[in-house]
Symmetry: C2
Subunit: 242 residues, 2 copies
DNA sequence: TCACATTTGTCCGTATGTATC
DNA sequence: AGATACATACGGACAAATGTG
């Protein structure tokens, strides 16, 4: 019964649940471009009239679309459901849940992160252009100015890796990276600032060297720096774990 | 404003939406083990009384937990919300959505899949044991019997890769693999059976050789076979794409 | 600043569908 | 087959948020 494992990916045909039918219909309308990004969907009351169902069913359908990253919802007179893509963040959120519920261990996270960031570097050496490098340089510059003011640059340090994924031009890796970073970002709030500055400075320095290695097409050096980088990031997590 | 991009991962503090508060509280109860897998949550009516909120808020909270992969819901007298982990499938579902909405290209998928399956092989050479190999052999055996009956063995061919991810002992890669396979599984329904048997047979043969290479600790050969495998799978997709 | 309109958010009462005993 | 205990769905009402004149 191999195929049964896909039971949640391939939705069973159930007309019983009205809100699922509504959700799928709306999703289809978004896919085929009837509703475009930035555009407002009709209000709950309007949708209820249009689909000839109760407002409750509409609400639950919209809840699904919201959690799936297709729309955002705001109250108020010019509010309502708006087509807005947040799928990356939603996937990262679910991944964070998986981590929190102990399905993903810290060791697993570090091991797979090393492999994935290495893949990203491989792709960067093929796909990245000058603009991508400039974005990376800007990031390091921002981190430096923050550090000079005596503040931690954790957000910038994490953003660096997101920029790397973007430079690889692979959306798959952008999604995976976002998910991994979400875990580290979640830890961020629990970090003790004591001694953090020095680590943050060190990571920023590694990032700077990495940019140099990429620009100089020195792949092996870039990979070695990445290993150091991830180990340092891991130290921060394990040092703060109770 | 780098940190703003995490706006959907780190939920904003909003007491305005009751159902989110309820959803978070229940999620926390699941995380800390108050509710364990297989256990039933109280019914909607009971939860409404316990939290002192309306049933609608409870329903939307349960909808969130259902879509996040924490619970399943069944009607009927012994039904109700049950703690059941389907997070992997839910992530895969969102990833499939991302693919369908053209955020992930087929080329991107193939390139990243090659890199990721190579990582999985690397981990297998470190972590896999005899039991994992036996599971892989069973899978190929099942595929063979299906092929001998003149039926396609697509499910088994895809399952092979899921077994590989499991043998790597990395939940991160299990999740990523599940997501990638979901796309191929989705295509499955659109495949023309014409000429498919031969391709399915060829893939099964590659899988068999791959097991041999893993057992013999021949990493380079295993990687080469994997490349062939993925190219073949990709051919099936592109051949059927309109 | 204030009143107003629009839209989401929330609760309640009720009815129906569904699965189990 | 009937009773029971659930989720599912509808309609009505009001509160809260938010933008507008």
């Amino acid at each position: 019964m191999v195929a049964e494992d896909y039971g949640s990916v391939i939705e069973p045909v159930r007309t019983t649940r009205t809100f699922e039918e509504v959700s799928n219909r709306l999703k289809e309308l978004i896919f085929n471009g009837t509703f475009k990004p930035g555009q407002r969907l009709p209000s709950e009351a309007s949708l209820a009239r249009l689909f000839r169902v109760g407002r409750q069913s509409i609400r639950e359908a919209l809840r699904i679309l919201e959690l799936s990253g297709f729309i955002t919802i705001r109250a108020g007179v010019r509010g309502g459901p708006v087509i807005e893509d947040t799928v990356h963040n939603k996937i990262a959120g679910l991944f964070l849940d998986a981590f929190k519920s102990d399905k993903v261990s810290l060791k697993d996270l570090v091991v797979s992160r090393k492999a994935i960031e290495k893949d990203v570097l491989d792709l960067i050496f093929v796909n990245a252009n000058r603009g991508d490098l400039n974005l990376l340089r800007d990031n390091v510059r921002q981190a430096r100015t923050k550090l000079e003011k005596g503040r931690l640059a954790i957000e910038e340090n994490l953003e660096f890796h997101r920029l790397l994924a973007r430079a690889s031009k692979s959306h798959v890796f952008m999604i995976v990276m976002e998910s991994i970073l979400a875990v580290f970002f979640d830890f961020r709030s629990k970090l003790s600032a004591v001694g953090g500055i020095e680590r943050s400075r060190e990571i920023t320095r590694l990032h700077e060297e990495m940019i140099g290695a990429i620009a100089a097409k020195k792949k092996r050096k870039a990979v070695a720096l990445m290993e150091l980088n991830i180990d340092k990031a891991n130290e921060i997590l394990t040092a703060n774990a109770t």
